[in-house]
């Protein structure tokens, strides 16, 4: 090897190192920048709106003629109602699917069903919203005698579908990684398959299952299009799952187009966005630590 080849190699090495540093840096800056940007814009409300009113005020009415109100509690409550309902629906369906795929289904069926469940995850939420508008809302309206079916329940049913693949595939991964010896030990003691599933496999995979539920919950909280289309968009405090509702995500999407740039309303919406960001981000980080702790 002559000395020219040597120099070339090291030059390329240095060049690529620089390039990778650059791309790495840009990505990191971008992603950290989201938080900073939101925080900076959100903080601009601090002069005019008290933190107490923002977080705990019950009414959100920025365009009110008399006195604009900035309470996000009804928005948070709206997000909460839809999310809780959706989770109640998605959890048994998702867990049932996971148990079926990992413990019961024959291999051929599993190879076919598993990708199908993943495909559910790729359905655009606007399509789910359309399904809601066209088919689910009228059914709900007829079932409960309402004028239209645009309410929290309708939205929750559809939103559950966005979380179902998450819960199902992560739980299934967790169940599949339980050592088969554990199951065999249970059978060897005379337990049936049903008993083994619920008394041995599921408890052994519990940390993964819980993580899947939390991640699914994060996905549910952040859903925008479905709620925009079928949740009803009312700012009134929801009285029941059959009330129309407007969660945080829909509020941002609807109002941001009508708002004057850099006005107080504009910054307030960024504050709502920051709230949303913090909730989901912290939820995800918590799941990360939870999983890491349990993996020993």
């Amino acid at each position: 090897m002559n000395k020219y080849q040597n120099n070339n190699r090291h030059f390329f090495d240095k060049m690529w190192r620089f390039l990778f540093r650059l791309t790495g840096g840009v990505s990191v800056v971008l992603l950290v920048g989201i938080f900073i940007f939101l925080a900076v814009n959100a903080s601009r409300i601090l002069g005019s709106i008290s933190l107490g009113e923002f977080l705990f005020g019950a009414v959100w009415n920025p365009t009110s003629y008399h006195e604009p109100l900035w309470g996000t509690l009804s928005l948070v409550y709206g997000t909460f109602i839809i999310s809780a309902l959706a989770l109640i629906i998605a959890l048994p369906l998702g867990l049932g699917t996971a148990v079926y795929l990992s413990e019961i289904a024959p291999r051929a069926v599993k190879e076919f069903l598993k990708p199908m469940v993943e495909m559910i995850a790729s359905i655009p939420s606007v399509v789910l919203g359309l399904i809601g508008l066209l088919f689910l809302a009228p059914v709900i309206a007829r079932m409960f005698g309402l004028s239209n079916g645009l309410n929290a329940l309708t939205a929750a049913i559809l939103v559950a579908f966005t979380a179902l693949p998450t819960i199902s595939s992560i739980s299934e991964d967790a169940l599949s990684s339980v050592s088969p010896r554990l199951r065999e030990a249970s059978y060897a003691l005379g337990a049936s398959q049903w008993e083994t599933i619920w008394r041995v496999s599921v408890p052994a995979a519990l940390s993964g299952i819980v993580a899947s539920v939390m991640l699914g919950f994060g996905r549910i909280i952040g859903e925008t299009m479905i709620v925009l289309m079928v949740a009803g968009n009312s700012l009134a405090w929801p009285r029941s799952p059959l009330s129309p509702v407007r969660p945080m995500t829909a509020t941002i999407a609807i109002e941001i187009k009508e708002v004057v740039v850099n006005s107080l309303h504009w910054h307030a919406l960024f504050a709502v966005g920051l709230l949303l960001f913090l909730i989901t981000f912290l939820l995800n980080i918590f799941v990360d630590f939870w999983l890491k702790k349990k993996s020993i």
Binding site: P106, R107, S179, R181, L182, R183, E184, A185, S186, Y187, A188, L189, G190, A191, S192, E195, R199, V200, P203, A204, L206
Partner: protein
């Protein structure tokens, strides 16, 4: 000789092509320790799993022949498999404690076999919380489940070491203790036969010794069939030895005969350590 299990012409295939167990016939005498020896991959573990129908849980296995347990062929159509498995227990190579407390590990067998009632549902959960007793309370308790846990742990020579941490996770025990826990768990349902699949291959010599002592004690109340890679272990604890090679039962005799005067040349070569 009182036979507890009589195997007649047993054949097992994997995936329709691999003939893992070839026409094996063997009589297991009651209250003895029978060691199954032979090089790895020769069908010993498969054979063992066919004795408590654990092979049923593996896909693509074909079984022909009979396994007569207490006068009845266990592969007959109307045999209750879960009840059978209660009578023929099994302990595996890697210790497999359930992710539960030590107490709950032992209690699992009796619970799923409905030997103790009242532990399902809400009343079960309440009882579970009330159950955190101290060692002396469990020692003196007249409750049936407490009694089972206590006696099983004592029989497995583990009571002294774990009595003060009965309600802590089983994963806190050492490998050897976990394995003895698995044995205690298996005897908690009072089987007639205990199958051991290389129970000490993952353990250090001290733990191995403890388990071998345990096996010798267990022979009084149970019949033990143990698969082992360790020829010295077989010579230490067994009464009868069966030598398997490539799925066939080559020779089956008393320990003395197998080690000092084997009939087959293959057997002689194996016990001398010439292969395996």
């Amino acid at each position: 000789m009182d036979t507890v299990i009589a195997v007649k012409n047993l054949n097992v295939w994997y995936n329709h092509s691999v003939h893992a167990v070839k026409n094996v016939s063997i009589d297991i005498p009651r209250h003895t320790v029978v060691a199954l020896i032979g090089p790895s991959g020769c069908g010993k573990s498969t054979f063992l799993r066919s004795l408590n129908r654990l092979l049923d849980t593996m896909e693509n296995t074909n079984i022909e022949g009979e396994v007569i347990f207490n006068g009845k062929n266990i592969y007959h159509g109307d045999v209750d498999v879960t009840a059978l498995r209660k009578q023929i227990g099994m302990v595996f190579q890697n210790p497999t404690p359930f992710p539960k407390s030590i107490y709950d590990n032992i209690a699992y067998g009796p619970l799923v076999n409905n030997e103790v009632g009242g532990y399902w549902g809400l009343s079960g959960i309440i009882k579970k919380f009330k159950k955190r007793k101290s060692a002396s309370e469990v020692e003196a308790s007249k409750d049936k489940l407490d009694g089972i846990v206590r006696e099983s742990l004592k029989e497995a020579a583990l009571w002294g070491e774990v009595k003060d941490r009965l309600f802590k996770s089983a994963y806190g025990l050492s490998g050897g203790q976990q394995q003895r826990l698995c044995i205690a768990r298996a005897i908690a349902v009072k089987p007639e036969v205990i199958l051991l699949d290389e129970p000490t291959s993952d353990l250090d010599p001290m733990a191995t010794k403890k388990i071998e002592e345990l096996v010798l004690k267990l022979k009084d109340s149970y019949t033990v069939i143990i698969v082992t890679h360790n020829i010295q272990q077989a010579s230490r604890i067994s009464d009868y030895v069966a030598f398997f090679h490539l799925g066939e039962l080559v020779e089956y005799d008393t320990k003395k005969n197998i080690f000092t005067n084997p009939r087959h040349q293959l057997t002689a070569a194996y016990v001398k350590g010439e292969f395996g």
